[in-house]
Symmetry: C2
Subunit: 500 residues, 2 copies
């Protein structure tokens, strides 16, 4: 599904996208100490990787230079496709000596411009490093290379009765290395936890080409600093993630999915609390979307709405080991919801095809909203009592702005993570200025985070100092770590940290 969504979006954007280039970002200039790539470098890379490992043809470069949402278009002249960690090491050693900047790229499904070059950085595509190394069925771990596609790993794990601990809309394209580098969250974090919990090992190539091997994969390992955690959310700025060990939960033998219609956001929150209390250890997902999202999916993608018209819809899923117990708990949950009047209507599915149809609605919201124009997307962590307020605030704020078509909200209410969307016919500078930094200011004032799961990338880097790593110690500590690990700043420059 993820793959379909992304290829659809790509088609759309290559027709009408805005393809912003660096001149749209006047606050960033190309780092003068970084070398420009020359023929001699290309020849050296071809010696290292073979001719098939080096792409320089203009038309092939385009996809690597442009991010999914067409917010950034880089000007890289070279894409490298290493097949082994040793090749990555040799590339980085060469880049370190030559002061050549590198932009690592996985499935290129990120939403903050982190995986494409800003200027002429070399693209290091991880797609050919896609071996699943091994599975430990007793411990429940998988070892894999960074270029493995999430869905492919998950399919492989099913043979062992295991599953990946996270699930993303982009699963058909996104890669494990990118998931690690962005600390991907997704749909089932409420149950299985973040990658901070589930990343048991990392292999990474450092700026100087050294291979950092933390792949033992013990569930408990307190031998010094937890280096693997350093690469979560670092977006390739501290090292090139080449492999990972992931802790994998047991595949559930019983899955149920309720779709609920509610007419008030306060009832979404009480339903969340009820789901935690009654479904408890079986609760695997608790999602919300508003009517604007449902309308977009129904009208633009032709997906059939599962319920009549409501202000809000929730998807509440259970993963359980005993079908009888699972059914009993879900019944008790629904009875309580109907008794207290929080929910207007609902439907429960346990057949895969019906559950899949419900999940399609949730997973294809971004595709639907971005189908006929440009989509401004914000990914906020907010206290529960403030979760949906920003949608109303932005609707009021954009009321007089004609180019703004809709403002909508959906997301992982169980984790306090809202995806806020502003839909426009095309990119519009006025809307951008109405949104930024206003949304970040509002989020900060209300105790939220300006990036819950999408990361900082290029797009939000300039806001880091003011809205994220607040207090001089946070930013200076991040800079100290960056300098310690990448003294020449060749790893994914212009990303994560704000310009000095």
């Amino acid at each position: 599904m993820g793959r379909v969504a992304i290829s659809l979006a790509r088609r759309y954007y290559s027709g009408g996208g805005v393809a912003l280039t660096a001149d749209r970002y006047p606050w960033v200039t190309r780092a003068p100490h970084l070398s420009r790539i020359e023929d001699k470098h290309v020849a050296a890379f071809e010696r290292l990787l073979g001719p098939s490992g080096v792409i320089t043809e203009e038309e092939q470069l385009d996809g690597y230079n442009t991010d999914w949402l067409k917010m950034v278009r880089g000007q890289s002249k070279v894409v490298l496709r290493p097949k082994t960690v040793e090749e990555v090491s040799a590339v980085m050693r060469s880049c370190s000596e030559g002061k050549l900047a590198v932009c690592p790229q996985g499935g290129n499904t990120g939403l903050v411009g982190g995986s494409v070059p800003v200027f002429d950085e070399i693209v290091l595509s991880m797609s050919l490093m896609n071996n699943i190394i091994k599975v430990d069925p007793v411990g429940g771990n998988v070892w894999c290379e960074a270029g493995c596609v999430l869905e492919a790993v998950n399919t492989h794990l099913e043979k062992f009765g295991l599953m990946m601990p996270y699930d993303l809309g982009a699963k058909g394209s996104c890669q494990v290395g990118g998931n690690v580098s962005t600390c991907a969250g997704g749909l089932r974090l409420v149950r299985y936890g973040s990658l901070n919990a589930n990343l048991l090992g990392v292999q990474a190539v450092l700026a100087n080409g050294d291979i950092l091997d933390c792949m033992s994969g013990h569930r408990k390992d307190n031998t010094g600093y937890h280096l693997r955690q350093l690469f979560l959310g670092a977006e390739g700025t501290l090292g090139i993630v080449t492999g990972a060990v992931i802790s994998c939960p047991t595949l559930p033998t019983s899955v149920s999915l309720a779709c609920l219609g509610l007419d008030d956001f306060s009832k979404v929150l009480t339903t969340l609390r009820t789901s935690k209390r009654i479904l408890c250890e079986t609760l695997s997902s608790c999602e919300v979307m508003d009517d604007t999202c449902m309308d977009a999916v129904a009208n633009k993608l032709g997906l059939k709405p599962p319920l009549g018209s409501h202000k809000f819809y929730m998807l509440v899923e259970t993963h359980a080991s005993n079908p009888q117990h699972d059914g009993d708990k879900m019944d008790a949950f629904l009875q309580e919801l109907l008794a207290c009047g929080d929910v207007e209507d609902g439907t429960v599915a346990s057949e895969p095809s019906k559950m899949n149809a419900l999940w399609q609605i949730r997973e294809r919201i971004t595709e639907a909203l971005s189908r006929d124009g440009y989509l401004y997307k914000y990914d906020l962590s907010l206290p529960h009592e403030k979760f949906y307020e920003i949608v109303h605030v932005m609707r009021n704020r954009l009321r007089g702005v004609k180019a703004a078509k809709t403002v909508s909200g959906f997301g992982h209410v169980g984790d306090g993570n809202l995806h806020l969307n502003v839909e426009a016919d095309a990119f519009d500078q006025e809307i951008l200025e109405m949104c930024e930094p206003f949304i970040f200011d509002w989020t900060q004032k209300n105790g939220g985070s300006i990036s819950a799961e999408h990361g900082i990338g290029f797009k939000k880097a300039k806001f880091m100092g003011k809205y994220a790593a607040t207090g001089k110690a946070s930013l200076s500590t991040m800079r100290a770590i960056k300098t310690a690990l990448d003294p020449n700043g060749i790893l994914n420059p212009y990303k994560v940290l704000p310009p000095a």
Copy 2:
């Protein structure tokens, strides 16, 4: 209970302990660039903290200079007891200017000599920073100061229907800051995950006195590097942890605990797999102990064995939300175990007093084994198929060594974490040399970790390069981070990283 265990052990050791001092560790010398404390420093600290915040009396210093297992005795002349993060900041600013080394200390229940000075480092006791700041019952988070005692936080959380996500034998004394600094594991990691999963925020004072505030406590926050994770397992060498935000699971409404007797370790492993399959999402603990451990607890502490005599005993616990479902699953589990013949005998408890009696047996093993002499303790992560083999190996190896009384194993089999013990009448150099580095070599050769949850501290620091941070990139990366954050090396020196 933890408090009782520790105070008993303290009493024993202050009579007959060995109280090793730095002259026992000839490979470490006092860092010559660090200043020695003078009267002017003490006077300055008294101005900062008031006279009650500064301890210099010889007899009061002893407890702060000596670790629980009496493996290290430092020679600190000053203990500081700050009450606020601002006071910690002022202390560190002063220490940074004066190049004075600091050893942060929580409950001082660590097992690797990490929380006591090695030479004359200033002890920074966190005990007076023990405020529980707030609880968010919807999100399920607690904000607390570093000096909060684990059991006190847990008791407070019960009022909100929440619990701490980890449980340790030392819960009556150990502090949250120490738990963070050692990435404490404990009895329920198999269900609730490690502190990598559950630490949502940290406040720390850096070497230069800057306050690093990452206390927002969002479940998802990808705004730059995950700095909070840096303090997990850093044992105070990168900063003084002064506060934490912990994610807290819902208190179970139904708890069951099975005690099983088994005659073969391979059956322990099949029972682990069966427990994961049948108890699945309700499994909260899966522990094992051998007959030597059971005998020690029975004979030395007078605790009544719950079953007849077996080679191995397992404790398998469930945390569930529905008593009927919990009982059904536990019944199905026991029926399968009896049917397949893996388990010889068993008993199930669900009344708190009976469960507590069973847990006492498990939690007091170390106390029992160390009651009549010196205990060599090793804390290993091992692949399941190798988990218990090292106990046999060490029994053979120590057969001719008279001073060695018993070799035993117990631990968190669900997490692959073995606690290996060698009991002796008193500290004996020959036994030490038979154990180290042999056990570390064996562990490394068999794909294990030489520190699962106890950390590196002072005792294992010299082994880091060879057995833990292997490959030059691991150790050099750790050193680069240490240098970046603590350029003068004043934070808990001689710990975690090996001597240069």
